[in-house]
Protein backbone atom coordinates (compact mmCIF):
# COMPACT_ATOMS: atom_id res chain seq x y z
CA UNK A 1 0.00 0.00 0.00
CA UNK A 2 2.78 2.33 1.01
CA UNK A 3 4.79 1.50 -2.04
CA UNK A 4 1.80 2.14 -4.22
CA UNK A 5 1.27 5.56 -2.70
CA UNK A 6 4.87 6.58 -3.11
CA UNK A 7 4.92 5.67 -6.80
CA UNK A 8 1.77 7.66 -7.19
CA UNK A 9 3.53 10.68 -5.72
CA UNK A 10 6.57 10.28 -7.92
CA UNK A 11 4.53 10.19 -11.09
CA UNK A 12 2.17 13.13 -11.09
CA UNK A 13 -0.67 12.86 -13.57
CA UNK A 14 -1.10 15.21 -16.46
CA UNK A 15 -3.72 17.26 -14.65
CA UNK A 16 -1.35 17.64 -11.66
CA UNK A 17 1.29 19.17 -13.87
CA UNK A 18 -1.25 21.50 -15.37
CA UNK A 19 -2.36 22.81 -11.98
CA UNK A 20 1.26 23.25 -10.88
CA UNK A 21 2.26 25.19 -13.97
CA UNK A 22 -0.87 27.23 -14.38
CA UNK A 23 -2.29 28.41 -11.07
CA UNK A 24 -5.71 29.98 -11.43
CA UNK A 25 -5.58 33.76 -11.82
CA UNK A 26 -7.32 34.28 -8.45
CA UNK A 27 -4.82 32.15 -6.47
CA UNK A 28 -1.99 33.87 -8.27
CA UNK A 29 -3.31 37.34 -7.47
CA UNK A 30 -3.92 36.39 -3.85
CA UNK A 31 -0.38 35.01 -3.66
CA UNK A 32 1.03 38.22 -5.08
CA UNK A 33 -0.67 40.17 -2.29
CA UNK A 34 0.09 37.77 0.56
CA UNK A 35 3.71 36.75 -0.18
CA UNK A 36 5.28 40.20 0.44
CA UNK A 37 3.38 40.48 3.73
CA UNK A 38 4.75 37.24 5.20
CA UNK A 39 8.16 38.71 6.15
CA UNK A 40 6.88 41.80 8.00
CA UNK A 41 4.15 39.80 9.77
CA UNK A 42 6.66 37.14 10.85
CA UNK A 43 9.01 39.83 12.17
CA UNK A 44 6.14 41.41 14.07
CA UNK A 45 5.19 38.02 15.56
CA UNK A 46 8.76 37.20 16.62
CA UNK A 47 9.15 40.66 18.13
CA UNK A 48 5.89 40.24 20.01
CA UNK A 49 6.83 36.78 21.30
CA UNK A 50 10.31 37.96 22.28
CA UNK A 51 8.87 40.84 24.30
CA UNK A 52 5.90 38.94 25.78
CA UNK A 53 7.90 35.83 26.62
CA UNK A 54 10.70 37.89 28.16
CA UNK A 55 13.28 36.29 25.82
CA UNK A 56 15.01 39.63 25.88
CA UNK A 57 14.99 41.83 28.95
CA UNK A 58 12.05 44.23 28.86
CA UNK A 59 14.62 46.91 29.62
CA UNK A 60 16.04 46.50 26.13
CA UNK A 61 13.04 45.61 24.03
CA UNK A 62 9.56 47.02 24.51
CA UNK A 63 6.75 45.11 22.79
CA UNK A 64 5.69 45.99 19.26
CA UNK A 65 2.24 47.12 20.37
CA UNK A 66 3.68 49.55 22.92
CA UNK A 67 6.20 50.78 20.34
CA UNK A 68 3.57 51.37 17.66
CA UNK A 69 1.39 53.03 20.30
CA UNK A 70 4.21 55.42 21.12
CA UNK A 71 4.80 55.97 17.40
CA UNK A 72 1.14 56.80 16.88
CA UNK A 73 1.13 59.18 19.84
CA UNK A 74 4.26 61.03 18.68
CA UNK A 75 2.84 61.33 15.19
CA UNK A 76 -0.50 62.53 16.50
CA UNK A 77 1.02 65.21 18.75
CA UNK A 78 3.23 66.24 15.84
CA UNK A 79 6.57 66.34 17.63
CA UNK A 80 7.88 63.33 15.67
CA UNK A 81 6.71 64.93 12.46
CA UNK A 82 8.72 68.09 13.07
CA UNK A 83 11.85 65.97 13.72
CA UNK A 84 11.21 63.87 10.63
CA UNK A 85 10.66 66.99 8.54
CA UNK A 86 13.90 68.51 9.81
CA UNK A 87 15.87 65.39 8.87
CA UNK A 88 14.16 65.13 5.50
CA UNK A 89 14.87 68.79 4.78
CA UNK A 90 18.57 68.46 5.58
CA UNK A 91 18.86 65.24 3.57
CA UNK A 92 17.15 66.68 0.52
CA UNK A 93 19.13 69.95 0.70
CA UNK A 94 22.37 67.97 0.84
CA UNK A 95 21.16 65.80 -2.02
CA UNK A 96 20.20 68.76 -4.20
CA UNK A 97 23.60 70.40 -3.64
CA UNK A 98 25.31 67.09 -4.42
CA UNK A 99 23.29 66.70 -7.64
CA UNK A 100 23.83 70.26 -8.85
CA UNK A 101 27.57 69.82 -8.38
CA UNK A 102 27.87 66.09 -9.03
CA UNK A 103 26.08 65.64 -12.34
CA UNK A 104 28.04 68.28 -14.32
CA UNK A 105 31.38 67.35 -12.75
CA UNK A 106 30.65 63.68 -13.36
CA UNK A 107 29.86 64.39 -17.01
CA UNK A 108 33.10 66.36 -17.42
CA UNK A 109 35.15 63.61 -15.78
CA UNK A 110 33.44 60.90 -17.79
CA UNK A 111 33.88 62.59 -21.13
CA UNK A 112 37.63 63.01 -20.79
CA UNK A 113 39.81 60.01 -19.99
CA UNK A 114 42.73 62.37 -19.30
CA UNK A 115 40.90 64.38 -16.65
CA UNK A 116 39.48 61.22 -15.11
CA UNK A 117 42.85 59.55 -14.83
CA UNK A 118 44.43 62.60 -13.25
CA UNK A 119 41.86 62.78 -10.44
CA UNK A 120 41.00 59.09 -10.15
CA UNK A 121 43.24 58.56 -7.14
CA UNK A 122 41.87 61.55 -5.23
CA UNK A 123 38.28 60.44 -5.80
CA UNK A 124 38.99 56.85 -4.84
CA UNK A 125 40.85 58.00 -1.76
CA UNK A 126 38.04 60.20 -0.48
CA UNK A 127 35.44 57.62 -1.45
CA UNK A 128 37.29 55.13 0.76
CA UNK A 129 37.67 57.58 3.66
CA UNK A 130 34.76 57.29 6.10
CA UNK A 131 33.09 60.66 5.79
CA UNK A 132 32.39 60.63 9.54
CA UNK A 133 36.15 60.99 10.03
CA UNK A 134 35.80 64.43 8.50
CA UNK A 135 33.07 65.70 10.84
CA UNK A 136 35.51 67.70 12.97
CA UNK A 137 37.00 69.31 9.88
CA UNK A 138 33.60 70.37 8.57
CA UNK A 139 32.68 71.65 12.06
CA UNK A 140 35.77 73.83 12.00
CA UNK A 141 34.96 75.21 8.58
CA UNK A 142 31.18 75.61 8.81
CA UNK A 143 30.56 75.97 12.55
CA UNK A 144 28.10 74.16 14.80
CA UNK A 145 24.86 74.47 12.87
CA UNK A 146 22.94 72.86 10.04
CA UNK A 147 25.34 74.09 7.38
CA UNK A 148 28.09 71.77 8.62
CA UNK A 149 25.69 68.80 8.58
CA UNK A 150 24.44 69.66 5.11
CA UNK A 151 27.93 70.18 3.74
CA UNK A 152 29.35 66.94 5.11
CA UNK A 153 26.36 64.96 3.79
CA UNK A 154 26.51 66.78 0.46
CA UNK A 155 30.22 66.00 0.19
CA UNK A 156 29.66 62.29 0.74
CA UNK A 157 26.71 62.19 -1.66
CA UNK A 158 28.61 64.23 -4.25
CA UNK A 159 31.47 61.70 -4.36
CA UNK A 160 29.05 58.81 -4.92
CA UNK A 161 27.19 60.69 -7.62
CA UNK A 162 30.32 61.99 -9.32
CA UNK A 163 31.73 58.50 -9.60
CA UNK A 164 28.55 56.96 -10.97
CA UNK A 165 27.82 59.72 -13.50
CA UNK A 166 31.42 59.64 -14.75
CA UNK A 167 31.22 55.87 -15.05
CA UNK A 168 27.94 56.12 -16.93
CA UNK A 169 29.30 58.66 -19.40
CA UNK A 170 32.51 56.70 -19.89
CA UNK A 171 30.60 53.55 -20.71
CA UNK A 172 28.05 55.21 -22.96
CA UNK A 173 27.46 52.75 -25.80
CA UNK A 174 30.31 53.12 -28.24
CA UNK A 175 28.19 51.85 -31.11
CA UNK A 176 25.54 54.51 -30.49
CA UNK A 177 28.20 57.21 -30.48
CA UNK A 178 29.58 55.82 -33.76
CA UNK A 179 26.07 55.68 -35.19
CA UNK A 180 25.57 59.37 -34.43
CA UNK A 181 29.02 60.21 -35.81
CA UNK A 182 28.36 58.43 -39.07
CA UNK A 183 25.14 60.46 -39.43
CA UNK A 184 27.26 63.57 -39.23
CA UNK A 185 26.36 64.68 -35.69
CA UNK A 186 28.61 67.32 -34.15
CA UNK A 187 30.54 66.58 -30.96
CA UNK A 188 28.08 68.65 -28.96
CA UNK A 189 25.08 66.85 -30.45
CA UNK A 190 26.66 63.48 -29.78
CA UNK A 191 27.20 64.58 -26.23
CA UNK A 192 23.73 65.92 -25.52
CA UNK A 193 21.69 63.54 -27.69
CA UNK A 194 23.56 60.30 -27.12
CA UNK A 195 26.08 60.24 -24.28
CA UNK A 196 23.84 62.12 -21.86
CA UNK A 197 20.90 59.73 -22.36
CA UNK A 198 23.11 56.68 -22.41
CA UNK A 199 24.55 57.64 -19.03
CA UNK A 200 21.16 58.19 -17.37
CA UNK A 201 20.63 54.61 -16.10
CA UNK A 202 23.97 54.70 -14.28
CA UNK A 203 23.29 58.25 -13.09
CA UNK A 204 20.11 57.03 -11.43
CA UNK A 205 22.01 54.25 -9.69
CA UNK A 206 24.25 57.02 -8.35
CA UNK A 207 21.28 59.18 -7.37
CA UNK A 208 19.73 56.42 -5.27
CA UNK A 209 23.07 55.64 -3.63
CA UNK A 210 23.69 59.34 -3.01
CA UNK A 211 20.36 59.94 -1.33
CA UNK A 212 20.76 56.99 1.05
CA UNK A 213 24.33 58.08 1.79
CA UNK A 214 23.00 61.59 2.50
CA UNK A 215 20.44 60.24 4.96
CA UNK A 216 23.01 58.10 6.79
CA UNK A 217 25.37 61.04 7.22
CA UNK A 218 22.60 63.44 8.30
CA UNK A 219 21.32 61.00 10.97
CA UNK A 220 24.82 60.47 12.38
CA UNK A 221 25.57 64.19 12.23
CA UNK A 222 22.35 64.95 14.08
CA UNK A 223 23.47 62.60 16.84
CA UNK A 224 26.85 64.15 17.39
CA UNK A 225 26.98 67.65 15.98
CA UNK A 226 25.13 69.80 18.56
CA UNK A 227 21.55 69.38 17.37
CA UNK A 228 18.25 70.46 18.75
CA UNK A 229 16.06 68.60 16.28
CA UNK A 230 16.07 65.85 13.70
CA UNK A 231 15.60 62.09 13.92
CA UNK A 232 19.23 61.43 14.84
CA UNK A 233 18.94 63.85 17.75
CA UNK A 234 15.62 62.28 18.77
CA UNK A 235 17.01 58.74 18.75
CA UNK A 236 20.03 59.60 20.89
CA UNK A 237 17.85 61.73 23.21
CA UNK A 238 15.40 58.89 23.77
CA UNK A 239 18.30 56.57 24.49
CA UNK A 240 19.80 59.00 27.03
CA UNK A 241 16.52 59.27 28.98
CA UNK A 242 15.81 55.56 28.46
CA UNK A 243 12.56 56.15 26.58
CA UNK A 244 12.94 52.92 24.64
CA UNK A 245 9.49 53.00 23.07
CA UNK A 246 10.23 56.37 21.53
CA UNK A 247 13.69 55.22 20.47
CA UNK A 248 12.34 52.20 18.59
CA UNK A 249 9.54 54.29 17.12
CA UNK A 250 12.09 56.86 15.92
CA UNK A 251 14.28 54.14 14.39
CA UNK A 252 11.21 52.85 12.54
CA UNK A 253 10.39 56.32 11.22
CA UNK A 254 13.99 56.79 10.06
CA UNK A 255 13.67 53.49 8.24
CA UNK A 256 10.43 54.63 6.65
CA UNK A 257 12.13 57.84 5.43
CA UNK A 258 14.99 55.85 3.88
CA UNK A 259 12.67 53.31 2.30
CA UNK A 260 10.34 56.05 1.03
CA UNK A 261 13.18 58.02 -0.57
CA UNK A 262 14.45 54.91 -2.31
CA UNK A 263 10.95 54.10 -3.56
CA UNK A 264 10.47 57.65 -4.79
CA UNK A 265 13.68 57.68 -6.82
CA UNK A 266 13.06 54.16 -8.09
CA UNK A 267 9.68 55.32 -9.39
CA UNK A 268 11.26 58.39 -10.93
CA UNK A 269 13.87 56.17 -12.58
CA UNK A 270 11.27 53.79 -14.06
CA UNK A 271 9.43 56.77 -15.50
CA UNK A 272 12.36 58.84 -16.79
CA UNK A 273 14.73 56.04 -17.80
CA UNK A 274 12.09 53.69 -19.15
CA UNK A 275 14.58 51.88 -21.39
CA UNK A 276 16.93 50.93 -18.55
CA UNK A 277 17.77 47.22 -18.64
CA UNK A 278 15.49 46.50 -21.60
Amino acid sequence: MNALESTKEKAPTHSDILTVNQPSPLTERLGNIIQPLIGPLALFAIWWMAAAGNWVSGNLLPGPIATFGSLWQSLATGDMISDATATLKLTLTAFVIASVLGVPTGIILGSSKKIYRSVEFVIDFFRSTPVTAMFPLFLLIFGIDDSSKISVAAFAAWLVLLFNVAYGVMNAGETRVLAAKVMGASRWRIFKDVMFYDSLPQTFVGIRMAVSMGLVVIIVAEMFIGSIHGMGHRIIDAQQVYDLEDMYASILVTGIIGYGLNLLFLGLERWLVHWSGR
Binding site: T175, R176, L178, K181, V182, G184, D193, W275
Partner: protein, 271 residues
Protein backbone atom coordinates in the same frame (compact mmCIF):
# COMPACT_ATOMS: atom_id res chain seq x y z
CA UNK B 1 38.19 56.74 -32.07
CA UNK B 2 38.23 59.66 -34.47
CA UNK B 3 36.97 59.98 -37.97
CA UNK B 4 39.91 60.58 -40.22
CA UNK B 5 39.13 62.11 -43.50
CA UNK B 6 42.39 63.97 -43.80
CA UNK B 7 44.09 61.81 -46.44
CA UNK B 8 41.04 62.10 -48.69
CA UNK B 9 40.35 65.80 -48.30
CA UNK B 10 43.52 66.80 -50.08
CA UNK B 11 41.95 65.92 -53.43
CA UNK B 12 43.37 63.35 -55.75
CA UNK B 13 46.93 62.42 -54.84
CA UNK B 14 49.59 62.30 -57.47
CA UNK B 15 49.63 59.25 -59.68
CA UNK B 16 45.96 58.59 -58.87
CA UNK B 17 44.56 55.90 -61.13
CA UNK B 18 40.80 56.24 -61.64
CA UNK B 19 38.66 53.11 -61.62
CA UNK B 20 36.83 51.73 -64.67
CA UNK B 21 33.66 53.54 -65.84
CA UNK B 22 30.80 53.12 -63.39
CA UNK B 23 33.06 53.19 -60.36
CA UNK B 24 31.69 54.99 -57.33
CA UNK B 25 34.23 54.43 -54.59
CA UNK B 26 37.96 54.24 -55.32
CA UNK B 27 40.40 53.03 -52.73
CA UNK B 28 44.07 53.62 -53.53
CA UNK B 29 47.29 52.73 -51.72
CA UNK B 30 45.44 51.90 -48.52
CA UNK B 31 47.60 50.85 -45.60
CA UNK B 32 46.40 49.65 -42.25
CA UNK B 33 48.25 47.75 -39.54
CA UNK B 34 47.09 46.51 -36.16
CA UNK B 35 49.75 46.32 -33.43
CA UNK B 36 52.49 46.36 -36.05
CA UNK B 37 51.00 43.52 -38.11
CA UNK B 38 49.98 44.77 -41.53
CA UNK B 39 46.37 44.01 -42.45
CA UNK B 40 46.19 46.00 -45.68
CA UNK B 41 49.26 46.93 -47.72
CA UNK B 42 48.92 49.14 -50.80
CA UNK B 43 45.37 47.91 -51.17
CA UNK B 44 43.38 49.11 -54.19
CA UNK B 45 39.67 48.58 -54.75
CA UNK B 46 36.92 49.94 -57.00
CA UNK B 47 33.33 49.69 -55.84
CA UNK B 48 30.75 50.03 -58.63
CA UNK B 49 27.98 52.62 -58.56
CA UNK B 50 24.34 51.68 -57.85
CA UNK B 51 25.25 48.06 -57.30
CA UNK B 52 25.29 45.80 -54.28
CA UNK B 53 28.79 44.69 -53.36
CA UNK B 54 29.10 41.93 -50.76
CA UNK B 55 32.43 41.50 -49.03
CA UNK B 56 33.27 37.95 -48.04
CA UNK B 57 36.49 36.37 -46.80
CA UNK B 58 38.22 34.29 -44.14
CA UNK B 59 38.08 35.22 -40.46
CA UNK B 60 40.40 38.04 -39.50
CA UNK B 61 40.94 39.22 -43.05
CA UNK B 62 39.41 42.57 -42.19
CA UNK B 63 36.06 42.48 -44.03
CA UNK B 64 34.51 44.87 -41.54
CA UNK B 65 37.72 46.86 -41.16
CA UNK B 66 37.87 47.84 -44.81
CA UNK B 67 34.21 48.82 -44.84
CA UNK B 68 34.61 50.80 -41.62
CA UNK B 69 37.59 52.64 -43.09
CA UNK B 70 35.50 53.55 -46.14
CA UNK B 71 32.70 54.74 -43.86
CA UNK B 72 35.18 56.67 -41.71
CA UNK B 73 34.55 54.70 -38.51
CA UNK B 74 38.15 53.50 -38.32
CA UNK B 75 41.08 55.69 -39.37
CA UNK B 76 43.39 54.34 -42.06
CA UNK B 77 47.17 54.59 -41.68
CA UNK B 78 47.60 56.02 -45.16
CA UNK B 79 45.94 55.96 -48.55
CA UNK B 80 43.01 57.62 -50.23
CA UNK B 81 39.33 56.81 -50.42
CA UNK B 82 37.22 58.88 -52.80
CA UNK B 83 33.51 58.83 -53.61
CA UNK B 84 33.18 60.03 -57.21
CA UNK B 85 36.28 62.08 -56.53
CA UNK B 86 34.72 63.59 -53.40
CA UNK B 87 35.91 63.05 -49.86
CA UNK B 88 33.83 61.27 -47.23
CA UNK B 89 33.00 64.63 -45.66
CA UNK B 90 31.17 65.69 -48.85
CA UNK B 91 29.30 62.41 -49.18
CA UNK B 92 26.05 61.36 -47.52
CA UNK B 93 26.33 57.82 -46.19
CA UNK B 94 24.12 55.50 -44.22
CA UNK B 95 25.45 52.77 -41.96
CA UNK B 96 23.63 49.79 -40.47
CA UNK B 97 25.35 48.11 -37.54
CA UNK B 98 25.38 44.42 -36.81
CA UNK B 99 23.87 44.83 -33.36
CA UNK B 100 20.68 46.88 -33.57
CA UNK B 101 20.28 46.78 -29.77
CA UNK B 102 23.48 48.76 -29.39
CA UNK B 103 22.94 51.02 -32.37
CA UNK B 104 19.38 52.31 -31.94
CA UNK B 105 18.55 55.00 -29.39
CA UNK B 106 16.24 53.29 -26.89
CA UNK B 107 15.14 56.61 -25.38
CA UNK B 108 13.55 57.62 -28.70
CA UNK B 109 10.49 56.06 -30.29
CA UNK B 110 11.18 54.10 -33.48
CA UNK B 111 9.85 56.96 -35.59
CA UNK B 112 12.12 59.49 -33.85
CA UNK B 113 15.08 57.17 -34.33
CA UNK B 114 14.37 57.28 -38.06
CA UNK B 115 13.96 61.07 -38.00
CA UNK B 116 17.11 61.69 -35.97
CA UNK B 117 19.60 61.90 -38.87
CA UNK B 118 17.16 64.22 -40.67
CA UNK B 119 17.00 66.52 -37.65
CA UNK B 120 20.80 66.62 -37.46
CA UNK B 121 20.81 67.79 -41.06
CA UNK B 122 18.39 70.57 -40.18
CA UNK B 123 15.18 69.25 -41.77
CA UNK B 124 11.94 70.87 -40.67
CA UNK B 125 9.41 68.64 -38.97
CA UNK B 126 7.17 68.64 -42.08
CA UNK B 127 10.09 67.47 -44.20
CA UNK B 128 10.86 64.77 -41.60
CA UNK B 129 7.23 63.57 -41.59
CA UNK B 130 7.13 63.57 -45.38
CA UNK B 131 10.29 61.48 -45.62
CA UNK B 132 9.10 58.98 -43.02
CA UNK B 133 5.80 58.60 -44.88
CA UNK B 134 7.75 57.83 -48.05
CA UNK B 135 9.81 55.20 -46.26
CA UNK B 136 6.76 53.57 -44.68
CA UNK B 137 5.19 53.34 -48.13
CA UNK B 138 8.29 51.92 -49.82
CA UNK B 139 8.77 49.26 -47.17
CA UNK B 140 5.10 48.54 -46.53
CA UNK B 141 5.62 48.72 -42.77
CA UNK B 142 3.06 46.76 -40.75
CA UNK B 143 4.08 47.71 -37.21
CA UNK B 144 3.60 50.76 -35.00
CA UNK B 145 6.53 53.16 -35.32
CA UNK B 146 5.39 55.00 -32.20
CA UNK B 147 6.76 52.17 -30.08
CA UNK B 148 10.14 52.20 -28.42
CA UNK B 149 12.81 49.96 -29.96
CA UNK B 150 12.78 47.54 -27.01
CA UNK B 151 9.08 46.92 -27.65
CA UNK B 152 9.79 45.65 -31.18
CA UNK B 153 11.05 42.28 -32.38
CA UNK B 154 14.67 41.93 -33.43
CA UNK B 155 13.80 41.99 -37.11
CA UNK B 156 11.66 45.10 -36.69
CA UNK B 157 14.45 46.81 -34.78
CA UNK B 158 16.97 46.04 -37.51
CA UNK B 159 14.46 47.30 -40.07
CA UNK B 160 14.20 50.55 -38.09
CA UNK B 161 18.02 50.75 -38.17
CA UNK B 162 17.95 50.35 -41.93
CA UNK B 163 15.24 53.02 -42.31
CA UNK B 164 17.26 55.34 -40.09
CA UNK B 165 20.27 54.86 -42.34
CA UNK B 166 18.12 55.45 -45.45
CA UNK B 167 16.21 58.47 -44.16
CA UNK B 168 18.72 61.15 -45.27
CA UNK B 169 18.79 59.63 -48.78
CA UNK B 170 22.42 58.50 -48.67
CA UNK B 171 24.56 58.00 -51.75
CA UNK B 172 26.15 54.93 -50.21
CA UNK B 173 24.64 52.44 -47.79
CA UNK B 174 26.87 50.24 -45.62
CA UNK B 175 25.57 47.14 -43.84
CA UNK B 176 27.80 45.30 -41.38
CA UNK B 177 26.58 41.69 -41.05
CA UNK B 178 23.05 43.02 -40.80
CA UNK B 179 21.37 39.66 -40.13
CA UNK B 180 23.84 37.94 -37.84
CA UNK B 181 21.98 38.90 -34.67
CA UNK B 182 18.65 37.69 -36.04
CA UNK B 183 16.93 34.33 -36.22
CA UNK B 184 16.20 32.73 -39.58
CA UNK B 185 12.59 33.86 -39.82
CA UNK B 186 13.57 37.49 -39.26
CA UNK B 187 16.46 37.14 -41.69
CA UNK B 188 14.10 35.99 -44.45
CA UNK B 189 11.74 38.89 -43.69
CA UNK B 190 14.55 41.43 -43.85
CA UNK B 191 16.07 39.93 -46.99
CA UNK B 192 12.70 40.40 -48.65
CA UNK B 193 12.50 44.03 -47.50
CA UNK B 194 16.02 44.63 -48.81
CA UNK B 195 14.95 43.30 -52.21
CA UNK B 196 12.25 45.97 -52.25
CA UNK B 197 14.88 48.54 -51.40
CA UNK B 198 17.30 47.47 -54.12
CA UNK B 199 14.46 47.66 -56.62
CA UNK B 200 12.93 50.91 -55.44
CA UNK B 201 16.00 53.06 -54.91
CA UNK B 202 19.23 53.71 -56.67
CA UNK B 203 21.90 53.23 -54.13
CA UNK B 204 25.48 52.04 -53.97
CA UNK B 205 25.44 49.37 -51.30
CA UNK B 206 28.29 47.64 -49.50
CA UNK B 207 27.47 44.62 -47.30
CA UNK B 208 29.85 42.67 -45.11
CA UNK B 209 28.65 39.11 -44.69
CA UNK B 210 29.93 35.99 -42.98
CA UNK B 211 27.37 33.82 -44.73
CA UNK B 212 28.27 32.96 -48.32
CA UNK B 213 24.71 32.05 -49.32
CA UNK B 214 23.48 35.38 -48.06
CA UNK B 215 26.32 37.26 -49.72
CA UNK B 216 25.61 35.77 -53.14
CA UNK B 217 21.84 36.13 -52.73
CA UNK B 218 22.08 39.86 -52.05
CA UNK B 219 24.98 40.73 -54.32
CA UNK B 220 25.50 42.10 -57.76
CA UNK B 221 29.17 41.49 -57.09
CA UNK B 222 30.77 39.27 -54.49
CA UNK B 223 34.15 40.58 -53.41
CA UNK B 224 36.26 37.70 -52.12
CA UNK B 225 39.20 38.63 -49.91
CA UNK B 226 42.30 36.61 -49.02
CA UNK B 227 43.94 35.94 -45.67
CA UNK B 228 46.06 38.78 -44.37
CA UNK B 229 47.87 40.76 -45.57
CA UNK B 230 44.59 41.09 -47.37
CA UNK B 231 44.24 41.25 -51.15
CA UNK B 232 41.31 40.80 -53.47
CA UNK B 233 41.12 37.12 -54.36
CA UNK B 234 38.46 37.65 -57.01
CA UNK B 235 35.31 39.58 -57.83
CA UNK B 236 32.43 37.34 -58.86
CA UNK B 237 29.34 38.91 -60.50
CA UNK B 238 25.87 37.52 -59.86
CA UNK B 239 23.25 38.85 -62.24
CA UNK B 240 20.02 37.09 -61.27
CA UNK B 241 17.06 39.46 -61.78
CA UNK B 242 15.50 41.26 -58.83
CA UNK B 243 13.42 40.89 -56.77
CA UNK B 244 15.07 37.63 -55.84
CA UNK B 245 13.24 35.08 -53.73
CA UNK B 246 13.44 31.52 -52.46
CA UNK B 247 13.39 30.30 -56.10
CA UNK B 248 16.60 32.20 -56.73
CA UNK B 249 18.34 30.13 -54.04
CA UNK B 250 17.79 26.93 -56.03
CA UNK B 251 18.39 28.35 -59.52
CA UNK B 252 21.34 26.81 -61.38
CA UNK B 253 22.97 30.20 -61.74
CA UNK B 254 22.91 30.78 -57.98
CA UNK B 255 24.24 27.32 -57.20
CA UNK B 256 27.00 27.75 -59.76
CA UNK B 257 28.04 31.18 -58.49
CA UNK B 258 27.99 30.05 -54.89
CA UNK B 259 30.15 26.98 -55.52
CA UNK B 260 32.55 29.10 -57.57
CA UNK B 261 32.88 31.49 -54.59
CA UNK B 262 33.30 28.60 -52.19
CA UNK B 263 36.05 27.14 -54.36
CA UNK B 264 37.98 30.41 -54.29
CA UNK B 265 37.34 30.84 -50.58
CA UNK B 266 38.69 27.39 -49.77
CA UNK B 267 41.69 27.89 -51.99
CA UNK B 268 42.48 31.09 -50.11
CA UNK B 269 41.93 29.63 -46.66
CA UNK B 270 44.28 26.70 -47.36
CA UNK B 271 46.95 28.82 -48.93
Amino acid sequence: MTITTAPATGGKPEGFVPGPPGTHITIRQLNKAFAGTPLYQNFNLDIPRLKVTCIFGPNGCGKSTVMNMIAGLIPMDSGSILFDGKSLGDTRIGYVFQNYREALFPWLRAIDNIKYPLKINGCSSEECDQRVRELIKTFDLQFDLNRYPYELSGGQQQLVSILRALAPEPEVLFLDEPFSALDYEMTLMLREKLQELFRATNLTTVIVSHDLEEAVFLADEVLLLTKRPTRIAETIPFNAPRPRDIETLSSPEFVKTKSRCLEIFQREVRR
